[in-house]
């Protein structure tokens, strides 16, 4: 790591911070447009039904209604809503509107009206006669013989086996697991279940669409993927990409939920039909069941280990549901194998997964992207193995985890919906993460502490996790820089800052490379008309991929600046260096020109705009590593689990902005705590959500949080700009297994289903007492 950086590695303020703390008009909905209409979607009341008859005459006749859309008057273009690089690996099984509805909340019709009240009244006036079909709600029933077929439409593409409701299927491995299990001294096999979690970004999905003066469709939207949204909307509405302009303002949280083209298509269609601006914003209730969730999974994990603590073989068999549509279906589930199993150096690995359709809310991308499920299973089983073998879990991890110089060969088998590329571990701070997080939690002392005699039992547990930094060979980004008369630079990036601070980090990289202070960089991001392409904010890609593009573009512009300065100062380019907002000669006879002088000279003497752009991608996805340690207190009278302390140590490569990096960790673990203990979108036996609000669906508040310790263990990643990898996703994986393991340490009971609710703990304690009465140990 270099220590001579002046901007990179500094806790600079967010470049968009003032606008945010003063409540400036920054977000999608923070504009007034004359003639703006309110768009509303009529949700299906049934989990599975065919629309026999739909009559919109009364709705259309209602004064103030300007457009009513059903499947009968919109183009039918199979597509995926997953905001992924073309060609998307998700099946094309979704339609703008369809004659069949596949979950409670599926689109039946859409209206645009002069007020919300009129729009809601118009929805009530739409007469729909349904042919209600049997629904599949449980994962295990989806593939059963005779199960209702959810996608029986003939024009869907890319579904693995529609007749058996299988959206996707994955089978990959290295070595020979059967042989590995035969070689192992001990075999451990357990089943785990994870739930439907919702992103709960505080800003719901919101899109405003209108036609500009040239008749182009403008879409101002809360999106992580403005360029993918543009491409998809153009395809669905059958207009050229060049006739669509997507604007991503400030985004009020995404977490993967906005890596979807979710409202952009229908809002655009309404604006085209009404020839007026239209705004659609999900209510909080709609956000819960009409947006996206994390994929629920049933995971069967089997590991073979030797008595000395060496893991020999690991096998993970997953049954997951993508809900009614296959958004991100094979890619999320692929990650459950490819990013989880290779944490250990076992010779033999096998991953098999069926992703099935059910008539439930649609699952999609969600921070961690399949890893929280996989690591919950793997890290809970590994804790069990260590316990059975009498080895301290920290030691067990040290012995088995992937290390510097290793090659993860499973990743070569399991890429983004197809074969991928091997991962070479070129930076790894995991051993130090383990040491420092263990020390922070007081591991050695607390593991040996005698059990409390009171009803409050304490325990400590841990987990190790990893992730990726961009999708190898697929994610790419570009950046453009141009110099202004005052020595400042406009930086234009397609990258989509969704609140995590990407604009700041990218501006820091540009400033560092150009040798200017941060205030000399003015960034514009995520606007498909004015910025160059970027896949968007997902897969922990922005810092490494978009940052890589910015660094390359800045290096090219720096070259132009130096050449211009060489002319002015009459000295060879090799003698010059950028720094401190100027270009100076190196060594004796110091001469220099300020950036302002260089810009003025270039523009008005040489008639040359200093400007350049660059594109960037990687053929590898360097993993950030994480160690999560939890201390819990279990109330054996109420079953309540209180997390007292959560220590998270992360290796993000070099942290371009350490304070922002810490913020990513802390936000991720808050969501991980909810995943572990409180969050689950519950459906009734008709597939209707029963807790689609913040009172009944509990996310962690300021008073609910445990003490957090955040440790950045910086390493120097050769593939990253200034050594950076990524940080936003990896810390969400650890809390659930670390807490489950800490609960075991506290009360001797294993929990293999999330969330771990007080009633589950109480029930398990009662069962344990019953068993203990019958058993002689």
């Amino acid at each position: 790591m270099r220590s001579d950086h002046t901007v990179v590695g500094q806790n600079v303020r967010k470049v968009d911070g003032v606008k945010l703390v003063t409540g400036g008009p920054a977000f999608t909905d923070d504009i007034h447009l004359p003639g703006l209409l309110c768009g509303k979607i009529l949700p299906s009341p049934y989990a599975h039904a065919r629309i026999k008859r739909i009559d919109t005459a009364k709705a259309k006749a209602l004064p103030g209604v300007h457009a009513v859309l059903t499947y009968q008057n919109v183009p039918r273009v199979p597509h995926t809503t997953a905001g992924q690089a073309w060609p998307e690996p998700s099946p094309y099984d979704t339609y703008l509107l369809d004659s069949k509805v596949r979950f409670v909340g599926d689109r039946v019709a859409a209206v645009a009206a002069e007020s919300r009240a009129i729009a809601e009244k118009a929805l009530r006036l739409i007469e729909v006669e349904y042919d209600v079909l049997p629904a599949v709600l449980e994962i295990e029933q989806a593939m059963a013989p005779g199960a209702p077929v959810i996608h029986d439409e003939p024009d869907a593409k890319g579904i693995h086996d529609a007749s058996r409701n299988i959206a996707g299927y994955i089978l990959r491995g290295i070595g020979n697991v059967e042989e590995g299990f035969r070689e192992s001294d001990r075999i451990f096999e357990r089943e785990y279940r994870t739930q439907r979690q919702q992103h709960c970004s505080i800003e719901p999905h919101v899109t405003i669409s209108w036609l500009d003066g040239d008749g182009r469709l403008v879409i101002r939207t809360s999106s992580q993927v403005p360029f993918h949204a543009r491409r998809q909307v153009a395809m669905i509405l059958q207009i050229p990409v060049s006739r669509v302009h997507v604007i991503k303002p400030r985004i009020g949280g995404g977490f993967g939920g906005k890596q979807e083209m979710l409202l952009e298509d229908i809002c655009g269609a309404l604006a085209l039909a009404a020839r007026r601006p239209v705004r659609i914003e999900y209510t909080r209730e709609e956000e819960f069941y009409m947006a996206r969730t994390r994929h629920p999974q049933i995971l069967r994990m089997k590991m073979g280990a030797n008595c000395d603590g060496t893991i020999v073989a690991s096998q993970l068999t997953v049954l997951a549901t993508t809900g009614a549509y296959g958004s991100h279906s094979t890619t999320v589930q692929g990650n459950t194998g490819s990013k989880v199993l290779p944490l250990y150096r076992a010779e033999h690995m096998r991953f098999e997964c069926h992703v099935v359709y059910t008539n439930t809310p649609v699952a999609g991308a969600f921070r961690g992207y399949g890893c929280p499920q996989g690591f919950f299973a793997q890290e809970t089983l590994v804790d069990e193995i260590a316990h059975e073998l009498g080895i301290d879990p920290v030691e067990f991890h040290r012995q088995n985890v992937i290390r510097l110089g290793d090659i993860d060969r499973l990743s070569a088998q399991l890429g983004e919906g197809k074969e991928g590329l091997p991962r070479h571990i070129r930076s790894c701070g995991l051993p130090e993460c383990l040491d420092r997080a263990a020390a922070a939690i007081g591991w050695t002392r607390k593991r040996k502490a005698l059990p409390s005699a009171s009803h409050l039992k304490r325990g400590v547990g841990m987990a190790c996790t990893m992730q990726g930094s961009g999708i190898a060979g697929i994610d790419w980004a570009s950046a453009f820089l141009k110099m202004n008369e005052d020595g400042s630079f406009f930086l234009q990036v397609g990258a989509a800052d969704v609140g995590g601070g990407a604009d700041t980090v990218l501006a820091q990289i540009a400033a560092e490379t150009l040798g200017v202070s941060l205030d000399k960089i003015v960034i514009t991001s995520g606007d498909t008309d004015t910025t160059p392409f970027d896949v968007g904010a997902y897969a922990s890609s922005t810092t490494i991929i978009s940052g890589g593009a910015v660094k390359k573009a800045a290096e090219k512009v720096r070259e132009q600046v130096l050449r211009m300065a060489a002319k002015m100062l009459e000295t060879p380019v090799e003698n010059l260096a950028c720094g401190d907002n100027r270009v100076s000669t190196v060594g004796e006879g110091k001469k220099s020109a300020t950036m302002t002088q260089i810009a003025l000279h270039s523009m008005y003497k040489e008639k040359t705009q200093i400007m350049d752009g660059a594109s960037h991608f990687n053929t590898d996805s360097p993993p950030p590593f994480c160690a999560t340690f939890a201390e819990v207190e279990v109330d054996t009278q109420t079953g309540m689990v209180r997390v007292l302390h959560l220590a998270t140590a992360v290796d993000p490569g070099v942290a371009i902005n350490p304070a922002q990096a810490e913020g990513q960790v802390e936000g991720a673990v808050a969501q991980g705590l909810g995943y572990a203990l409180t969050e689950e979108l519950v459906l009734d036996d008709a597939g209707r959500p029963v807790n689609a609000n913040f009172l009944d669906y509990k996310i962690f508040g300021a008073k609910d949080m445990p003490k957090l310790t955040t440790i950045l263990v910086e390493t120097d990643e050769p593939l990253g700009p200034y050594g950076a990898k990524s940080i936003s996703e990896v810390p969400i994986n650890g809390p659930a297994p670390a807490i489950a393991n800490a609960i075991f340490h506290a009360i001797g009971v294993r929990f293999r289903k999330l969330p771990i609710r007080p009633e589950d703990v109480l029930r398990a304690l009662r069962e344990k007492e019953t068993v203990a009465d019958d058993q002689c140990v």
């Binding site: 790591m1 220590s3 950086h5 590695g9 500094q10 806790n11 303020r13 967010k14 911070g17 003032v18 606008k19 945010l20 703390v21 003063t22 409540g23 400036g24 008009p25 920054a26 977000f27 909905d29 923070d30 007034h32 992103h199 709960c200 505080i202 800003e203 719901p204 400030r250 009020g252 949280g253 977490f255 914003e281 209510t283 909080r284 969704v498 609140g499 995590g500 601070g501 902005n657 350490p658 304070a659 922002q660 810490e662 913020g663 802390e666 936000g667 991720a668 673990v669 808050a670 969501q671 609000n693 913040f694 009172l695 996310i699 962690f700 508040g701 300021a702 008073k703 949080m705 957090l708």
Partner: protein
């Protein structure tokens, strides 16, 4: 539609607005350009729409605009004086306490209401004051630190870390 006139003070300025009896304070404030008042749930659960009504934090999504007649309303737009930010706003910037920034106005207003009553609160009290504002980005640690720093007399610059 029936309408009515209401008079109130917003950020120190006298306002006279025409509203419908059922209009929510949240909608009226946003309609009048106070975009810092955010819509997160419309049920008083997330707190993003917090404003101070006569100094006390309320959920503007749960209040009819008509009920604000004669009140002093403070929104985030009224916290800074010109280009001089309020110490809480400075502290949020210095501590990286605003990520996406959507709940930040509500956090800052709740913190202001606390500090106006209790200039030197404990961490517990700060967490209590922020408990009504859901944040999905920060895990609350940096917002709590920012409020405590703003409350402390000798608030220094952001902790800059020496690199290894």
């Amino acid at each position: 539609m029936k309408t009515m006139e209401i008079r109130l003070n917003v950020n120190g300025e006298a306002k006279q607005w025409t509203v419908a009896p059922g209009d929510l304070l949240l909608d009226v404030l946003r309609r009048e350009g106070y975009f810092g008042v955010k819509r997160g749930c419309e049920a008083g659960e997330c707190g993003a729409c917090t404003v101070l009504l006569d100094g006390k934090p309320i959920n503007s999504c749960l209040m009819f605009a008509a009920k604000a007649e004669g009140s002093d309303v403070l929104t985030i737009e009224g916290m800074a004086h010109g280009s001089t930010l309020h110490p809480l706003q400075e502290a949020f910037l210095d501590h990286g306490a605003a990520q996406c920034g959507f709940c930040t106005p509500a956090m800052i207003l709740n913190a202001k209401a606390l500090l106006d009553q209790k200039p030197h609160p404990s961490e517990e009290e700060v967490r209590e004051a922020l408990a009504g504002t859901y944040c999905r980005c920060t895990g609350y640690r940096k917002p709590v630190e920012a409020v405590l720093a703003a409350a402390g007399a000798g608030r220094g610059p952001a902790p800059r870390r020496a690199k290894a």
